[in-house]
Symmetry: D3
Subunit: 337 residues, 6 copies
């Protein structure tokens, strides 16, 4: 079975058209102001997505909302909640339409300055009522404006405890970026790197050994820049941040994270597997999404990663099975497929 | 000959002690307020550095000021200039003490909101009078506060034209970071990625084919995340940003940059060489610096990269010679060694 | 002929869905980033609108973009221009589909801090190339955040001179409102009042007697609050603002503005006609829009204003003809129907 | 008996001269820093006001402080309190001088960010000790800078409960305006409109049926713009804000407010009475004040409203008695005349 | 003849009452909005002042507006100008009433961010048309909020050149203070100290030897803190700020300023005369003003300084004549008495 | 015995070099990030200081950290604490090296917005564990940016109670200044004046008669400007701030403070002693520091104050003994020498 652990809802245009109205409404239509998408509109979009999966041989996708259209920052809290629910509900409805092809990863309501516990109601609703299998966490709800504490900050600890209690993984994926310097896409990678280093510095897995964190896009820059952090660990990390009680190498810490394979490059994937171990990686494509360009050398889309991984010589059959299915089942323990 | 193209001044404590006074002075001692470092103090520090080089077999280092102690942001312009000159002068004096072992890469005065042309006097002084061979450019003088235009912005074009005219390379290296979310070290990598993507989006090498830009630390995240940008290029870059007149692949654009080897990891280096080509890379260690931790597996410092590169099987002898010497001579055409 | 001088584009959902993408893109897809709406999508929306017109007997609508979805404030200028053009182009395409049923009133690009002359290219394009008959002006591009000069400020004078030269009216209609206190709908009325009083205080029609300004929604609060301003005129306006050279009464000044009939209430319309004169009013419904609620007393939508006006006893047949057709022809001299 | 329910203290110049000193003092003279106005100074001002009343046949005025000279915003709290007390005390002294001609409506101390309960001491003092009959509420203590929650916000509920308990009406009247776009006078009308729509959206009279709220100046724009809100109520208000449990029409909600007659125009007054019912209106002139201009057509001041109302044909004798006296007695139940 | 060189207008309450209206008006009454003070009102205030002078034997006072009621900061420019003119005009009218007893020192319009040349029209009007003899300069138009350049900054140089050309002195006296930490009175002294040190650091009298600057209140803290600046001059001032071309001692620089005697303490006055020389001091009392308290030890007001100075043993008769008359005639060369 | 009550640590360059690294680290090296100064480095600096003392005959210095290099404002709290401890620890180590020549006055951690009680741990550590004899208080931790409450504000009362309980004096000395208008040196004097007037207005010694406060630099401007405050006390202070229950004169209040002699001028010192009494003053030189310039008239440094004071004719032998030793023993009751 091929499980794509990183995919986003392909919504009908009515959803994003509603987002425009939501942002300008400012209470004019009452609260909550929810999107209306008909079954027919949704069914067309869902079928389109199933076709895309069939085209490359994906059996199941874990769907989360399209991150850069989520609403965080300093938006009205009631609008943040309504829009998060709209997105999660559309995923839930999509799953109902194709119960063997999709599972849900929930967006959660996040706002600059709001305590992270304010998101718990929606987490409970999605995991317990809608049967979702993980959450998508924006590590920077300030959207590039430097007003969010980094992920190692105690601000986030109640969420980590909540997710451990639910035995549910956190998919780290930044969303919109409004600082005028980076696009959301550039921000993704930077935030992924920062998530890892910040959690490393906070010795988070010493505090929460059962925490499950999946970093998007093969871990940002970190597997590539590992030398810098190995050295840092020996000079400052181990003696100070881990009180000389940490593992021998930074590599040991990095292997406590999970990674997806959304890298679209065979060499990079090989580097990832060598660096963190294929057993800490799960197949993911973000398809359809940023990898949808057609490679002129192959004529195939860059995000058609299954044959790429299958073609990596150094992987054992077990490792491949793990990548395509087993690791996802381990990480997303509520998957129930 | 082993040329280390990325190294920073190891200054005596008097220099950074002066920085403390400079920041609090606010004009109390008049302008310019310059550092005073005696020849004896400097000689001791320089000898220490030569010993470090001898220890690993480096013949020549290209010295620039320690980036995270440079003064940018919204500091007083006169202080920015004075401090930049202090740093460059200490490098020049170091070179005079060991004329066969060092060359200079100049810091330039940069301030949020100041036109980039304000740095030209110091560029001229360093290149023409002090005989420096390149400049160190902070791509984010706002120091993490989102107030600098990215490197593809026309704000920077006069500088690019100036450097082309001087046939002098730009070493891209961010400096201090004050946003409270990232450390300077985390900011380095993010800014390097952003420098590449921003220059790519601006089709900068179409406009300035003779521009020489060296990205620090093996190019941030980009060689690892190349798949994402290959796809972007096919979908948006080529048709829109290059008006369908760009090269066939994003790889062709990436190969127009130069990269150093400050990665401290053999696998990462192999990935870099495979991705951008060994002929676009120059040996660099940032030694002594962030790579100074001792690898428990080898007992050697992570930044002792010469044997690492020598041990990479896939490199031809010519490529190795290029990495250690020839490429640097090509990139830093004023090297004169 | 029944001409509805105040109506907005009923766009297919693809347009507002694009607005969501536009706002988050931040240059990720290159500039300009334009909306894509197919002819089929547009045709369906346009036919829907024609049906709505037929339903109440409207022959022609003057279409402007939906104001509260326009993009002003501090948005990226290239995005403001692209989105304005997208909206105007959709109107132009709608007119082409139904050349006897629609005419265009152009949105113009506006940004906090940008000189008003930056909008002239798009004005020229719309009036001269697309054949539009007026412009829609947001009197508060700061969107409720107090950063726009009021309409009497010299900031706006170049625009007034431009519109006089084109013999083209300005339809005053505020857009989005982001101050967290008012909704856009509440802001509309407040801005309309402020437009009138600010222009009155600046003695604008003494300076520009040929300027044609149409205030939305029956003039905000002013016709109802006229007593307050009559008194103000005698105490301060005439002696100070008009140097004792103004007309006898504030009423004389108010009658230099034009007003639409978007009031949805017979008594209010009677008050409007009595106060400013039916010859200064043009039929407008904003249909479909905020008046679309069904009156439980009549079972008809509140914005079905034609029978309401026809039923006003005090109007002469000439006045009624003027309201429904003649005044619009006078005000929109380029109407060419 | 003619009761003018909306009039402001005509203070001797010493009061406003003190305000200048108060603002600049910044604690230089200690706290509290109170105004000093002699009995002779006050008596002259009071007699002047009585003459003004006699001139138009007013028997009793309800005096509140001149709103635009009140001190709110971010002023020093001790100064806000002192200045509020100065104003209320001068009113109390005026009443003592002319006990049959005046009653008091108290200003209350308000500051951006301070809880509304901070005003309760002064409310108690004025109502219980000084015998005032109502309070003047600034719905926007941020003075046009968008930092006050609108009146429907729960921020205000403790005040509403307090006033219900005291059976005392709230006279809604904004004060100073510092946003650089509107004058205080323009702000008055906009805030009155916003007070009504905000309280309507919050279904405030469902929550507090005994709350008595008098909107100044004939209700801002709302009676004139009623069509817009009738439609809103059918589309959004009734189904969402009132959970389908509200009255049939928006008109039923509007009639739960009280209105004064400070409109200075016969047609506007007729529209007001038709729209909200004469039984919800109380005579008010704000005389001497903004209506003091002399109408060139009549030679009389615009704020001489008694003959205007007496001349409205459609009012019954009972309605007129109610307007001039009975409604005020009902609304201001503590009037005791 | 006793000339009191530092006194402020004692205005009737109507002036400050107008200031209250001016601040809230925000254009509601048109521009310019000028104060109205009747001759009778002014005459009473002027006579009161003459009596106060007679009471202590002062022949002539140099009147400037009451500094802390001036309007600077970010106020509306038109209001700043109008209020400055109101104040200067009242002084001119007072002089006309008592031509042998008063001379004028003009307030000038100042605003944060406005070029200092914007004040030149009012300077010309006051000096050339009204016959004033000096100007009162607020060295901190930002009123304690750190947004004004200090007096040594080139921002001020055009003003210095203007005053040299007019041969007219600058009376340095800060005005209102709004930073919430200092009262205006505390700010006065701090600004006076800063004026001296800032002008000293800029070597202003080397640049402008003919500039005449009178520091209020005996020079703030500087004559008392002179030791600190003597040392500073030897260590940094002479070598750096004066390029080793300054006078021998800081004292020589301090003696280029003028000082008034508004110190209200015999010992302090003795210290002042010893430190800067009696020939650089002019008699001033600021009476009536901050020195109006009654000394319990003498029963006389603290600002009755004539007998205090007369009682200083160390002064020669010539020095005393100079203090009371001659120095003022030298400094205010246009005095014409 | 000559006790110099106002002297600052002369640290080796390593300390201020560390400050540079501390500020840029932003957590990169973990928390706490402490300075490393070797015994040899410290011993050289300490010996240097002892030599300076011997040179002018000082027996004991009370050492506090160099104020303008302390870290306050909005710096990271953990860095503020670490840096404060670094400084205090270096003083403690210096005392251990020369136990008969030095005593410690502790810097305390202060941050804008942090409650003053956050400094208590370090106070306890320094007084109780390290044996320090007083604390150095920055009255403006906002460093010139107007964000600190003045010293009379209740914000500070818990600290005053703490210091009374410890019977330990507070040395008032502002530190860095970042407002771009004043240098730290100018800020010192202004803050000292403000400390006195703010505490006076708050009647602090009525509330805390046992509080011991030493104002640096001879009391800023206040002894010189005493006339202004004497008058203020009679007009406003006594009746309002002291409820007519204060002492007869402002002088009586001023004499409740302690003052050091860091004035570097004989006349000024005479004025100080006359004004506040020699029994409220303690010998202090701040040597080596701002008084280190060489007086061209004497050839001696300005801060060699012992002979200056010895040469003041008006002082009795007892007063001199008190100044040099006795008063310090009284004020610093924990001195134990």
């Amino acid at each position: 079975m091929i499980i794509d652990a990183h995919a986003h809802l392909v919504a009908p245009p009515q959803l994003n058209a509603h987002r425009t109205n939501l942002i300008v409404a400012q209470g004019q239509y009452g609260y909550p102001y929810r999107a209306e998408v008909s079954d027919a509109q949704l069914a067309a979009a869902a079928q389109n997505n199933v076709d895309i999966m069939d085209n490359v041989g994906t059996d199941v996708q874990l769907l989360s909302p399209r991150p850069f259209t989520l609403l965080h920052g300093k938006a009205n809290w009631q609008d943040i909640v309504a829009w998060t629910m709209d997105n999660n509900d559309l995923i839930a409805r999509t799953i109902k339409m194709h119960p063997t092809r999709f599972r849900g990863v929930a967006a959660i309501p996040q706002k600059v300055g709001a305590p992270v516990t304010d998101s718990f109601d929606e987490i409970d609703r999605c995991i317990n009522e809608l049967g979702f299998v993980g959450i998508l966490l924006n590590p920077d709800p300030s959207e590039g404006t430097n007003e969010s504490p980094p992920m190692g900050d105690p601000y986030w600890y109640p969420l980590y405890e909540k997710m451990i209690e639910l035995d549910c993984p956190i998919h780290v994926h930044s969303c919109n970026c409004c600082n005028g310097r980076e696009s959301y896409d550039e921000h993704f990678i930077n935030e992924e790197s920062l998530a890892i280093t910040s959690l490393y510095k906070a010795a988070i897995f010493k505090r929460y050994p059962d925490l499950k964190i999946m970093i998007s896009h093969g871990g940002g820059a970190i597997p590539y820049q590992i030398g810098r952090w190995r050295s840092h660990y020996q000079m400052f990390g181990k003696p100070r941040m881990y009180d000389n009680q940490g593992p021998e190498l930074f590599d040991d810490i990095l292997k406590q994270f999970w990674f997806d394979t959304v890298l679209h490059d065979k060499n990079a994937l090989e580097h990832l597997f060598k660096t963190v171990g294929a057993d800490r990686c799960v197949f993911g494509t973000e398809r359809p999404g940023s990898g949808g360009g057609i490679d002129p050398l192959t004529g195939r889309p860059y995000d058609d990663l299954k044959p790429v991984i299958e073609g990596i010589a150094g992987l054992t059959p077990d490792e491949k099975t793990g990548l395509f299915e087993g690791n996802a089942r381990k990480l997303f323990s509520r998957l129930d497929l």
